[in-house]
Symmetry: C2
Subunit: 242 residues, 2 copies
Amino acid sequence: MIQNRPPNPPEAFFSFESFMQTLNLSKQDIYQSSFDEKQQVRRIRKKKTIIKNLDRIFGSVLKISNKKGFKAMSMRDLSLESGLSMGALYNYFSGKDDLLEMLQHQQRSITGKLLEERIAAVSSPRDKLKAAIYTHLYLSEALQPWFYFSFMEAKNLTGAEKEKTVASERASEKLFFDILADGQAQDAFHPHDPRLGASLIKAMLQDWYLKRGKYATRSVSVDQYADYVYRFVETFYVKAEG
Amino acid sequence: MIQNRPPNPPEAFFSFESFMQTLNLSKQDIYQSSFDEKQQVRRIRKKKTIIKNLDRIFGSVLKISNKKGFKAMSMRDLSLESGLSMGALYNYFSGKDDLLEMLQHQQRSITGKLLEERIAAVSSPRDKLKAAIYTHLYLSEALQPWFYFSFMEAKNLTGAEKEKTVASERASEKLFFDILADGQAQDAFHPHDPRLGASLIKAMLQDWYLKRGKYATRSVSVDQYADYVYRFVETFYVKAEG
DNA sequence: ATTCAATTAGAACGTTCGTTTTATTTTTGT
DNA sequence: ACAAAAATAAAACGAACGTTCTAATTGAAT
């Protein structure tokens, strides 16, 4: 009987289906919180109405912007796609710039929270590496339009919001850096430069949401992709057990 | 004396500096050819003037667009940055859409030509893989603003031009696919799926020009990056010699 | 049935945009 | 120095944009 081993990561870590079952809840919470923070506008009082319409608005913005760009999307486009009148739309944001910031903020909140939670749940460098890769891919699969939008429209941000995006990007790269560096410190990983390693891993994860259509055409599932990426990374970094 | 071995790749293949020395010539040729094709407009007769001003225009477009996006760049912005009046500008392209297409066409021509040339110059799968990785990185380093622009503004294209971009993207991925597949057929590479392999390699190469600023901040040279990527890929695919 | 919450269609505003045009001036090659 | 080539500054055009506003209408909860 195997007894004094650290517990294996739970099943949900390495299957997109079970990952999704543990996720669903938190989406609405964040919608609402992001709106509560802006009590300046707040012409809408019912929570249910807020969530329903924010969902319609965000969905429409992502659909239009990810086709032809946020700058090329007019408010008239958005009104048509969302089915809301111009007057109604401006009850939920103060302007086009505000809309952009809300979407970026949304994506940062959800991603940052979930990623750190799930990596903290495992202990060995190897498990952390695997959990980080899988979780990142699952997140970007579940929220692909958000991820794509955030990347492509980041250049339209200004000032404080731009800095937040850069900081968030750095933080998620540091997460991989720390895993690689810890693994080397524990003699579990080969001594390749962890700085460049973290960059390359992120580059491969990024491709999943930037080229989502390509992988869909080829019928590559997120689990297949995750498995391939992890084995690729493992071969280079993780020392053979024994 | 080693005699019956295939020749090693020339020095210029694996040093950015020597790569640049063999490159310089062809840039002006393509500028001019891209303008000759549009004999509809052709209010400018002197080749020297054409090349000089196209260079100014393209440089200015890339500078502005890569900061705030092509859609956000106004023709008045372009006039100011390039130092050319509105009237002068419209002697070199028929409109803003045309300008976008010229830049995309430019990048495709240079890249496609050079990449195929240099890979055909070596023979073994291992050498081809290395040559493809290095050449792609060197090209995207030399033409970073072009590469970045092409990727970020591809969604603004329509119809035939959009298809050309997709086709070019597919062709350059197939190039890596063929190298991996050939390597496996010759029993020189491990039997990992070459389709996904080609995608991941391209993802890592793409990061170099999409995040150019990050690597500059960290003082990572293109040669360091190329070396790291190649060793990463080599570990996973290339069988040990012997 | 009444009240408050929320949405509607559409006009209207000031701005900015891409593009064209003008008459004049500068640059270039010989 | 002369003639052709090219660039100039500035105005003007209609179209599209983000945003605001109005008066009338719908929806939902008590």
